[in-house]
Symmetry: C2
Subunit: 317 residues, 2 copies
Amino acid sequence: MLSGQLESTNQVILDHLASSVPLIPEVARHLIAAGGKRLRPLMTLAAAELCGETGEGPRLLAGAVELIHAATLLHDDVVDESALRRGLRTANIVFGNKESVLVGDFLFARAFELMVRTGSIEVLGILSKASCIIAEGEVLQLTTSQNLETPQTIYLDVISAKTAALFAAAAEAGAVVAGGDAEKVAAMRAYGLNFGIAYQLVDDALDYQSSGAVLGKTAGDDFREGKMTLPVIRAYAASTSDEERQFWQRTIRDKDQRPDDFARANELMRRDRIVEACLQEARGYAEAAASSLAVFPVGDLRGTLEDLAIGSAERTT
Amino acid sequence: MLSGQLESTNQVILDHLASSVPLIPEVARHLIAAGGKRLRPLMTLAAAELCGETGEGPRLLAGAVELIHAATLLHDDVVDESALRRGLRTANIVFGNKESVLVGDFLFARAFELMVRTGSIEVLGILSKASCIIAEGEVLQLTTSQNLETPQTIYLDVISAKTAALFAAAAEAGAVVAGGDAEKVAAMRAYGLNFGIAYQLVDDALDYQSSGAVLGKTAGDDFREGKMTLPVIRAYAASTSDEERQFWQRTIRDKDQRPDDFARANELMRRDRIVEACLQEARGYAEAAASSLAVFPVGDLRGTLEDLAIGSAERTT
């Protein structure tokens, strides 16, 4: 059932990339047609279906959610100066930073046009608020960059905002557009939020363990950017000597990096089993996501979402 | 009447810059508190008042319109690599490109949150569509950059989209939120659209004649960027020798510029009275804007808007 819905959501997305300016669909397709797991629209569709609705509204909304996601990816890659995503060169590399900024703006505006077509002002409220929070999370992340003293709570604030807020809104809005009651709406929101936190925890952990081929992006990107993700917070705290602390200070705080530094960082993390600890933390959130579905009757769709959450924390290198 | 409304709209805007991440209001205030003429929210408020409504709805909407404008300015300055705006160093220079991109995203999302509070899905439809068109205009402008063969019609498409679409939407949405009938809504839209075209024509003309102090930005920016604005289209067409054509090809097409080139460009434009011709063209649109107000009864407010339109085309160096 969901896969048919996801198929027509893909069509909604591709239809809405159309523009009188050919460069716009070209840039947008480069990103969107390259794949991606479509997890956010899937969550919207599943939430709507769990609340008894499989019509046009959820599909439009699911398309809007994916367009917001695509817009943030285009802007993120400019901000992070990334070169690889979904196994392809990023749009900022292929087309340029200016093009990525402006096409991101276009997709964001198009997403709101799509939401208007659902006729639900409540949905527009949920997604506009989430879009604010995403931007806040991105800026907060920028201000923690290279700061080795960043507390874990701030890191959780960052990922809750920049990643989990959109999952939460996607799931919540799906339930709302389907006319779900307050309990179901809250359950789907909790599912999306916890799922999103687990998802980003895993992503940040694997950046210290995967090859580029597995990740679909360049492994070690976070390290090279001096991004304060949980593995670095934990590894710095686990330092056993001044020499080790100085290693993190030089590579992350001062961003003075040499060819072998990423290997050394990985070695220190392996010694202290940092990546495993982060994945363990992710599992906690994934289980919380799955549990929040208890308000829905046992069935295939609920089972699919439970497996999706648990599976997200089982991604390995 | 309008000035009181504009005052409380300013308050709406400042209130909505609040964020748990202090850098966001800091970047946003740098731009917004630096001034600006608030022409777009003024148009929203005036349109609403002409349709008999001076309450909370128009103020929220006017705030949203100015936030969209501010978001596009932050992104434009990144895209154009501008250094000066409203007489101050641009946010991208003071805070950085990344910060400007992300705070622009935040303001855009906040604008939609504000519109949700008006409760009017029609208004959301008008402004989300306009936001798409603005981004299309910016991308179209990017694709015409340095192309001396750009026809005047494409230039008009660019400025209609990147500038006039927001003026049109601001005025139209003001009439809609006030419950104006179809004739009044169409009249306000026509006013905003023609006003916006006149406004950008003047802006582009003055870039070849003003000092930075008058413009509040760096004169000659368009020339240095190789932007295909009407003055260059006209001046290139008016070339009287191969040497002159080669001058434009070297400076605009090849962007190979020397210290005296901008002075030479100005000199050629003075000889052919290019700036005057562009300002004349602007006057035509300004008059069309003023005429579109004929559906409203003669009165102070209609007079103010007429003067605003005619005055916009009288800006001199």
